[in-house]
Symmetry: C2
Subunit: 268 residues, 2 copies
């Protein structure tokens, strides 16, 4: 009925139009362009990717691409949004791996590590997009979309902290407000993990400075932060270690799954 009525072709359901095959193809092209650009970025590095190359991969011409994205930076931002969305999915999955707030918190940290390891190109894309030349030329709509995705990543962490306060695992010492404590913790853990991973990826001098196990340092420091605020149960090396060992393969599998997911085209 809503489907093939006459012998000719398609028709419209009132609210949501059933699109003809070609029309759907066009709609999906936005996503296909990203699929084409993604491996090019992986191979050649981000600056070296030309519109020409993307078009070649797509088997169309540059002009067509401009029907979907206003410029190269716009494509980059769209890629970044897809990446942040994957990160968010990692985090959301991570918090399902335990009922205990402190373990959930740890799981998010490990999820970030796995994200960097299993989806390194996504991580690199996020980095690049952050910087002004790209950020400024991207369309405002896409900027907002990206910011909102990041927001949700942060919310995931705040949620766990909120749950810890509710449950009493984390208490408000020294008359600090709940708001303030959350702020401090979110920002602290975020800086520690994000900053640490960025440094690991981009600072060649770290090795010379005798920093040979950045991941261990990150983990230990996060726990130090949590301990200092009295988040119960306090750090226990054995328990922590076995939790990490237990969830890491699950997180890796989830990352792989995300990579293979069909390209949901982003609302352009």
């Amino acid at each position: 009925m809503s489907a093939s009525s006459s012998s000719t072709n398609c028709s419209n359901a009132p609210g949501s139009p059933v699109l003809s095959a070609k029309q759907r193809e066009i709609r999906a092209r936005g996503g296909r362009i990203l699929d084409a650009a993604y491996p090019l970025v992986r191979e050649k590095g981000l600056a070296a990717v030309s519109m020409e190359a993307i078009a070649r991969e797509m088997q169309c011409t540059r002009g067509t691409i401009y029907n979907h994205y206003v410029n190269k930076e716009d494509i980059l931002s769209a890629l970044a949004t897809r990446s942040v969305r994957r990160r968010m999915e990692m985090f959301r999955y991570a918090v399902t791996l335990s009922d205990q707030p402190r373990e959930r918190c740890a799981a998010i940290g490990i999820a970030a590590e796995v994200y960097v390891d299993c989806l390194p190109d996504d991580f690199a894309i996020e980095q690049t997009t952050r910087h002004d030349p790209v950020w400024q030329k991207a369309s405002p709509t896409r900027r907002e979309l990206l910011a909102e995705c990041e927001q949700q990543c942060i919310n995931c962490l705040s949620g766990v902290i909120g749950a810890a306060i509710e449950s009493g695992d984390l208490t408000l010492a020294n008359g600090i407000s709940r708001q303030r404590l959350t702020e401090q913790l979110v920002f602290g853990l975020w800086s520690l993990v994000y900053g640490g991973l960025v440094l690991e990826a981009t600072s060649p001098s770290l090795g010379n400075a005798g920093i040979s196990h950045p991941r261990i340092a990150i983990r230990r420091n996060c726990n130090a932060l949590l301990d200092d605020l009295g988040w119960r149960p306090l750090y226990d090396a054995g328990a922590y270690q076995s939790f990490v060992v237990a969830i890491t393969p699950k997180l890796r599998r989830h990352a792989k799954r995300l990579l293979e997911q069909p390209a949901e085209d982003s609302p352009a």
Copy 2:
């Protein structure tokens, strides 16, 4: 012979040649190019700076610039080296502001904040240079130079930690090795401060997430890390605050001084 022989003009001391006026000007031009590029970067943003614009500022043609730098990225790297050197000077000055290791450590953190506030363009340049498109095209020599400068910044912090261990303010608990403890602390503080400042500068979603005082969070978290490791004297809000208030204006003055310093030309 090697000295001033004839009446005409210049001559060479054996090891270090005494250069004629024009020769010295050429030698200094490398630095002058950086001076020309720096404000352009400040105004127009980094990607928008063209060789043409730099040449105009220098009152010469593009060709001449290529006598000193192999490409634009090379100029950027040179600028970054100058920036990192300024940061290093900030750190070196910071550690002179107290005799107590823990205060010295705090001083380095505040120095980083002041660096970002008073030399924002330097901070931005550092960020940009870190990213692959630039990093890969810069000449290897300059890359090494930059890495070495960063190294010295890190050494400054390791030194303070070393002194704290020597003096007994910081003790090796749980049989952790000195090497390992230093590694963990350097990396942790670095991530926390660097990561925090980068996030503050580039993450628009932070405000929405209720993070309104990132600086306070950074400081408090650093102290949490130090406390957790038992670095004496433990955090005391009053003492810390008054130390910060005492050194901040000094650090700001030092930053201003660095800005006005004549351009020592980097070895190209």
